[in-house]
Amino acid sequence: MESPASAVLAFPTRERWSMRKEHAHLSDEALVAQVARGDEDALGELYDRVGRIAYGLAVRVLRDERLAEDAVQEGFLAVWRSAATFRAERAKASTWILTLVHRRAVDLVRREERRRTEPLGDDTPAASAEAAEPTDEAAWLRFERERVQTALRQLPDVQREALELAYYGGFSQSELAQRLGVPLGTIKSRMFSGLARLRELLDESQEGSWKTEFTS
């Protein structure tokens, strides 16, 4: 059976810009296989496809552009080093890369004591996304972002809050419980239900996505 979330994210190659034509037609997973054989251009192509999102994520977690670049660089070096261990039948390459970059960003932010003492606020880069909408990125990325943000808005507030603080905040779950003043068990169940509900919402909005028509 196909995993229910397998359709959550797709990164169409059609819209992507690439300098290396021989790599442009390869899937992300095929590129990882090339990287495993020491192909630097394949790593560059993966960066062209996923680097922008990875960087946006790292900035959101770290709130610092230099640290964010470090996190992205180390994430991609981890891809370079361990590409041979990647198993395409278990995870999508883009998901794997974003997981590596996120893990690295979280490890960095946990070291930054400064970050801990800041009050919780909605002053993160993404909160002002409407105002600072980048104009130089691909249409498919803008479309995907809008789709995910719409789904997020449909979540119950407590679930959205738990997911956003957890994923973008870099906190441990016990810190989350403390900050929100709720028992640890409550946080765990909000994160779990939040992810499960978000998965459903994304699956629903996948129907009728233009990507479906253009990439199938």
């Binding site: 979330a5 397998s6 994210l9 495993a36 020491g38 630097e40 790593l43 560059g44 960066y47 999102i53 960087y55 946006g56 900035v59 552009e65 964010a68 670049e69 660089q73 070096l77 981890a78 370079w80 080093r81 361990s82 041979a84 261990t85 198993r87 278990r90 999508k92 998901t95 794997w96 974003l98 997981t99 979280v106 490890d107 880069p125 996304a129 980048p134 130089d136 995907e144 972002r145 995910v148 943000q149 789904a151 997020l152 997911l163 957890a166 973008y168 906190f171 441990s172 779950q173 016990s174 989350l176 765990k188 169940s189 994160m191 779990f192 939040g194 992810l195 978000l198 998965r199 994304l202």
Partner: protein, 236 residues
């Protein structure tokens, strides 16, 4: 307890677990198909949260910096690399070890683990041991005399064999690792082999002058092999 562990899936996907919880969960993952399925799907959903962010574009230099760093970095898991030895450059250290472990956690899912919990735990321990040797900046590479791949030897003598193109062992058979010292060979673990690249940590440590070899044996392995090695390293 078991239910408590299952509940960590969301936290693991969102990276909110502390080191002990991560470790406990990864160990559990090796033996729980349900959690692996759930985690795969939660990871995809978490990646959607990454897409929801937006902000400035990264500096145009970042791409070059990454490619330059990659070029200078030892690529640890490249079977074809055995043909030329590279000077090893410590670049990432402990951070890379963590990242490589995440990659291995993904990779582990695909390995054909038996349903036996102890086997699964042993396999995971081995993968972890392998990752630590592979990201050890002072590790060195030894070419293979026979077989495709290479041997990576850590500073403390722990060794990992990276093999490309070895078919999975036939039904009822297993691959057995050996550390050969002069005329005597000591068993150094069993593995079943998978499609694609195998990365196996040896039990025990190797010393200069030793050779690492692989034979095909009946299930369960043997203490003394009568078979010719399929894979043999050069002298460590």
């Amino acid at each position: 307890m078991e239910n408590g562990i299952h509940e960590l899936t969301a936290g693991y996907a969102l990276d909110v677990l502390d080191a002990d919880e991560r470790w406990a969960y990864e160990t559990h993952l090796a033996s729980c198909e349900r959690c692996r399925e759930e985690l795969t799907s939660f990871w995809e959903t978490a990646a959607a949260l990454a897409v929801a962010t937006s902000g400035p574009a990264p500096s145009p230099d970042l791409r070059d910096r990454i490619l330059t760093a990659a070029r200078e970095d030892r690529q640890v898991v490249v079977p074809l690399e055995s043909r030329r030895r590279r000077r090893l450059t410590p670049v990432l250290g402990a951070a890379a070890a963590v990242a490589a472990l995440v990659a291995l956690a993904v990779g582990l899912w695909a390995s054909q683990l038996s349903g036996d919990l102890d086997d699964a735990r042993r396999a995971l321990e081995r993968e972890r041991a392998a990752a630590l040797v592979l990201v050890d900046p002072s590790a060195r590479t030894v070419s293979l005399e026979a077989g495709e791949g290479r041997l990576v030897v850590g500073s403390d003598g722990q060794a990992v064999l990276v093999l490309d193109g070895l078919d999975p062992a036939p039904e009822g058979k297993t691959y057995e690792l050996w550390i050969v010292e002069g005329e005597s060979a000591s068993p150094a673990g069993l593995f079943s082999g998978s499609e694609g690249t195998d990365i196996v940590a040896l039990d025990g440590t190797v010393e200069p002058g030793n050779v690492v070899a692989v034979t095909l044996e009946d299930e369960g392995g043997v203490q003394v092999s009568e078979n010719d090695p399929i894979v043999a390293s050069e002298s460590v």
